[in-house]
Amino acid sequence: MQPTHHDPERDPVLAGALRDAYGPVPEIDFDRLRGTILAQAEMPLARARRDQRARPASRFRAWVPLAAAAGVAGIAFTLAVHPGADRPRHVSEADRQQVEQILDESVPDLSQLVSGQTGGDEMLNAAIGS
């Protein structure tokens, strides 16, 4: 940090007297100190690396229940909006007329049955298509 205008003024005389009283910082074997620090740091650093590797998987794990819930919600939504999706939903006018025509031709009118103009057996045979 560079000195700023907020820095108190230096007192070189006092600083000198203090240095004289306390002496210089002794030289030590910094290579040895560095080696000791790095050796001690191996385990914590290894743990940090393991945690780092585990982090994406754990993030993914957190999404699994959400994804499952979203899937269930999606299926429920689809069923709610399109109930009976396996049934035909659109019958054209031409198809409807064709179906009615076939029915008219094959199934005797109920009034004919009631009036006795058509027998029950005929009606049943017509219904089963024989």
Partner: protein, 201 residues
Amino acid sequence: MSTAGTSAAVELPFRATPAPAPDDEPALVERVRGGDAAAFETLVNRYMRRAFAVAYRLMGQKEDAEDLVQETFMAVLQRIGTFEAGRPFAPWFFRILVNRGLNARKARSLRTVDEIPESTAAHGPTPEREAERTELRDRLRTAMAALPARQRVIVELFELEGFGGPEIAEILEISDGTVRWHLHEARKTLKKALAPFERSS
């Protein structure tokens, strides 16, 4: 202030103000967070010597200072997850070191005044002068030891290790004004202790 017997010490060059933190420091810290040993080694190389100097001022013995530096780097690894990205690393690092140093000093009831190595003895030209300087040093150490812990550490960081006022404020988590006030009070006390040695040049 004018003190007799300190002329040799006054000639000592002022310790250069700490260089500003390199731009790569946030990236280095981030890599250390991920367990990158090379990044950690870079930080160790960058801060080890300065950390030792501060630790030595705090502890007064090089073995204790070495222990403190080691403990500080281990504490950095333990707490790196809590380090606020984007903040400067140096004040955070030295805050850990100074706090641990102060706690250790308190716990061990260290009296630095008794632990100054003999190698610091000055080479006075005459026995009288030498005796006077020895007395001056003793008085100064005694006065320093009697300072409140916070004032003492401020003097050590500012006068002996060349830290700036704002940097000390950040390390100790106090305001610039409080640092200036403590420094002022400490200087007053120390000058009082040295008053008998004052000469009118």
